[in-house]
Homo-oligomer: 209 residues x 2
């Protein structure tokens, strides 16, 4: 059973599977080829479904499907950073920060141009008010996790307590986002690494740890 907008539809196991297949296929197609150029027919072909199925599971049409894809990608972005980044505040040692940094960089090195974050922020996120809200939430949640990490480090005397934790978290997000955007344009992770490393290294300059 799933609710979309005002209507509620019952889904059988088979139906749920099909719906999932469509969303994931659409997400993959969009990551590979961009949202702008991906058509419903591409998705249909990739997921071995018919037109009617797409509109059956997403009565709102393409917009609704793309919103579902955006939600999936937003989830994936946070998941990818687990367990470095969770409610328990695992970013509590320099090693943890380094691990997080490595996880981010390695992931984008492997994925190259096809990254959820880039697609979400630069293509899906701006499409509709609903998807804008979604990206806003993602950003807020992500930033709050990083902020908690900074606060934790400050609490342990490992980072300068004079730093504005929230602002620092925002800077880190911008660094990742900028690195990813450049990656998508050039195919190189150099900027991503430079931005993350520079910021982290300078954060660590507070003491000798």
């Amino acid at each position: 059973m799933i609710t979309s907008g005002t209507t509620t539809v019952r889904l059988t196991a088979k139906g749920a599977a099909t719906r999932l297949r469509i969303v994931e296929g659409a997400a993959a197609e969009i990551r590979e080829r961009g949202a702008a150029t991906t058509t419903l027919d591409d998705i249909r072909a990739r997921t071995a479904t018919s037109k009617s199925q797409i509109f059956h599971y997403f009565p709102g049409g393409k917009d609704e499907l793309l919103l579902a894809v955006a939600a999936l990608e937003a989830e994936r972005i946070l998941e990818d950073q687990q367990p470095h980044l969770d409610d328990l505040g695992r970013l509590d040692t320099w090693q943890a920060w380094r691990d997080w940094r490595d996880a981010v960089v390695r992931r984008y090195e492997r994925q190259g141009v096809n990254c959820p974050l880039g697609v979400l922020m630069t293509e899906l996120g701006r499409r509709t008010p609903a998807s804008q809200r979604l990206t806003g939430q993602l950003l807020a949640q992500w930033q709050s996790a990083l902020r908690d990490g900074v606060r934790c480090m400050q609490g342990s005397g490992l980072m300068d307590p004079a730093l504005d934790a929230d602002r620092t978290a925002a800077a880190l997000i911008a660094a990742v986002q900028g690195g990813v955007t450049v990656l998508m344009a050039t195919g190189s992770t150099a900027h991503l690494e430079a931005a993350l490393d520079t910021t982290l290294e300078l954060l660590g300059r507070f003491d000798a740890e």
Copy 2:
């Protein structure tokens, strides 16, 4: 006289003016509404031209026009940062860096979502191999200007000589780019400012100046 691809066409003064009007109108339209949703008809309406004119000046069709727009925007991005950033290496004092930072932030505050950089990197830049080369060149030129600034500061003993100047420049570009991308998604310049300020402040921590 203008060369496009293999063909060369002579332009009268009137022709050159029309061509310019089309490119600039297209650029403005795209900045406001995004490249994905801007149609030739929109451009036609805005620039008071006919279909045949667009194809007369851009025989390659939409791709060629968008490439011209990308080139225009790339130029504008560097121009916007003049005279902070030029071949003479004006980034030679902390005040100059602060001025540059202010120029960047103020510009995007005023422009809001409609920024050349964002559109170029996230929409135009990925369209064709030609536009990819173009964004690559922009990035290289920009980074080299910033790198010269860092080197200059290092030479004067104002920045840590141990820093890799090129890497630092890359980090700054990623910071701006990330800030802009977030700006386009959320409408807020908070991340842009946080990223720039954090990076610059930490760069300045080397000495007390």
